[in-house]
Symmetry: C5
């Protein structure tokens, strides 16, 4: 899994019916220290994450379908947690933004 920060939402009026009523969140990918890497992933949310929050992203299709209990879901990346703290080299980093 990797770290991301929710930056916004992707609006798509024409999309595959399997995406109806699914909110797609734009997430900037973070490095191990919580800094922006320049990369991003568009993720389906499972925990009610909102803009500015640091999140845990699972980027693997089979696991993503399982976490959503969505057997035939055309997805690859999901938000599986909201991250509060990173304990790195015995120092606590608060990342609740």
């Amino acid at each position: 899994m990797i770290l991301g920060k929710v930056s916004g939402t992707v609006v798509s009026t024409i999309s595959h019916p399997l995406y109806d009523h699914r909110r797609l969140l734009m997430c900037d990918l973070l490095d191990a220290g919580g800094a922006d890497t320049g990369g991003y992933l568009i993720c389906v949310d499972t925990v009610g994450a909102g803009p500015g929050e640091t999140v845990l992203i699972l980027d693997e299709g089979n696991g993503a379908r399982q976490v959503l209990a969505w057997k035939d879901g055309p997805i690859r990346a999901v938000i599986v947690g909201i991250v509060d703290q990173l304990l790195i080299d015995e120092v606590v980093y608060d990342v609740t933004g």
Copy 2:
């Protein structure tokens, strides 16, 4: 999922029979702000996307086969939506090109 922009079509006279009558679209990959990254993917279309449109790309084989209801399809990347707007840091970006 990631963002792309349809730039053209790939013409292949000799290809595996499973690709007959499938249109292959060249998609430039975009960053989170909608700028060209220099990367690309050749995608199968599912939503009627055309040149210049910003699209949502799913790059995962099992999900791609499911979205196309194409159980044995030799594919990895599909266009699953046309993107109209990005709502980033509470600003609306129109990306209909």
Copy 3:
């Protein structure tokens, strides 16, 4: 899928028996304009591609096994088409080499 150009052949006298009688082609990876990226993949051929030809590469294990009808094949990348033209921004690029 991505674009490649066949540059040669990989000769392996000692290999897993599942590879017997399979020709392994060295393919340089191309960017969206057909230029060499410096990357490569060693692919199993399915369409009779030869040196110098621009090809369509599928880099995904499950799809690769299906296109070869080779259920237990230890493969990841296959050549699934020979590319003749790229139609990019309404300009036709001949890539038959």
Copy 4:
């Protein structure tokens, strides 16, 4: 598989129930000589690894679920071993940190 070094723990108070009681370790990715690459992965532990230890990381969802005997686990990366030594070009490198 690749090499990593455990640098800390990720604390997530809101996460998908499937993660309850699973410890998530932040692992810096190492190059073949044991030096930090700047990359990282958040991994589920299977061997009792602790901060500062060099570990063997498997980054593949289906294998990760199997090693944890966790059929529907929403995971991709697991720590599968603690690395003691690298024998490179006939030289022994102790990496027990």
Copy 5:
């Protein structure tokens, strides 16, 4: 598949029981011309490869499990052949090291 060169062995005294009696080889990844890329993968061997040999690496979990006939194996990368020659642009490159 990609090219690698075996550079050494990874010693792990504490590892998941599924790895018992499996030799883990450190392989430097090579470019299409056989030069070191700086990357690496830790691979399970299937052909008796030794240090200094140029090898063919399959980096895909499902195929790796099949080539080893190891249905639940927690692996991703395997050595599936020893490479003797590369025939690139009609020139033969001997890569037996």
